[in-house]
Symmetry: C2
Subunit: 299 residues, 2 copies
Amino acid sequence: MMPEGRDFASAQAEAALAVDELLQALLPEPAGHEADLFRAMRHGTLGGGKRLRPLLVLASADLFAVSPSRALRVGAAVEMVHCYSLIHDDLPCMDDDDLRRGRPTVHKAFDEATAVLAGDALLTLAFEVLAAPQTHGDAEVRLELVRGLAEAAGGRGMVGGQAIDLAAEHRPLDLGSVTRLQQLKTGALIAFACGAGAMLGKIGGPLRQALHAYAHDLGLAFQITDDLLDAEGSVAATGKRVGKDAAAGKATFVSLLGIEPARVQARILARQAARHLDPFGERAGLLREIADFVIARGQ
Amino acid sequence: MMPEGRDFASAQAEAALAVDELLQALLPEPAGHEADLFRAMRHGTLGGGKRLRPLLVLASADLFAVSPSRALRVGAAVEMVHCYSLIHDDLPCMDDDDLRRGRPTVHKAFDEATAVLAGDALLTLAFEVLAAPQTHGDAEVRLELVRGLAEAAGGRGMVGGQAIDLAAEHRPLDLGSVTRLQQLKTGALIAFACGAGAMLGKIGGPLRQALHAYAHDLGLAFQITDDLLDAEGSVAATGKRVGKDAAAGKATFVSLLGIEPARVQARILARQAARHLDPFGERAGLLREIADFVIARGQ
């Protein structure tokens, strides 16, 4: 994944390029009356983005010498789920956002109905990709990936977190509830991405636990940084509308902790995340750099 | 499935009850801030319905002596996908319907954002259910089910059909295009339900082909009947708004063929569907009765 001497930025750029190429291939534009659906799916997935989740899959798979082409398919599937959730989140009935990654959101570039369907189709395709033989030779591994992604993305994972987020508009949450919300809304998918390397490598036990602990702290550090960017960032820097949480009167890590303590907390969590990687030694260099990268945007 | 002498109505009622019980069990109402999400998922799935797709899974599985408890799980998964598609279809940005199965649609009983999320979570849960060991002891069978459902439900299946349906509002379709639309929009999931029995029983070859041919004709007969009900039925009889297609200026089998020829065509297709079951002999009695049942509503 990252030969000695290569820097993080080039490793990230290379991974992003590889994921984009695979997503391109998995989302061909068909002829016929449904062409707009696939254009909308492409618009919602191919428009840049940090590709953090695929990078986590690639980096965790590399710990166990898993073939990158397999890890890439899992990375593409996770990214499809992430992008579908953004498409639906941006809808007028949800966050009502016009801008994403510096471009019009899918319902702005197409229409609301097409955005709903594009999200639905991306979520479905993610499972099709994981279940295909190219993803892993062992059927049990593919099933574990399917179940893992479904659990992380569904009503007891990401979508459950989004539902709590909706409810939070009516009654403000305390720190414990915000933490749980974020662990579901963004943490579950990040944890799946980190755990996917162990699934692909058929690794259980303490090494898998270590990855899980890393993912837990990384997810929270990521979310605190997102809250910091929403409170302090600019549209130009984030490519999306900012100041949303305050405008909606939502409790966030930043509103509950204050800006500076939140920033310190993100640093502590990133350091703690990196420490969980000790059992992997040098091999976990990329995962350590990801932890630095995740909080750097908000420091 | 249907011992000699039992009538179709009681077989259907028994299957519907069993599916409802399993859906109840798969959709417990959690405590916590996400309770509304699960209430919305239950509202969208447990409100009655003909349960045609689970019945097709049970009846096709019975041809190969598959354990009904396994078939029931697949039936519940297909029904979740069907119900999620109805929840999203009913949204204001799609068909904008207030009534479904004689009750308020999910976005009316809750709100639009919750309806979007409830659909997303149901789709995700369907794959979780299929991938779980209880569904089949053979991992390859579970993977075939996951892939089959994803293909039937995604951009090249049901959602693709819905996208063509959207495009049809702007430019009317001819009979060939309407047929393709319906084969994707409703036919693909019906075909998966019929094929699931063969997947569970690990049956390929001509018997699987026969089921596929049955499903193809049944799906079209079903859709023509739906068009007839939309053109001629009442809200009281269908539990949903009628006359939608004509109001939207959409080309349907009924608008393209005329009412009486459409009715005749549905009968021909149902008879043809039943004939494909000849290789199964007496054992396919329930599937034959389903073909009669599917068109009876519109005759």
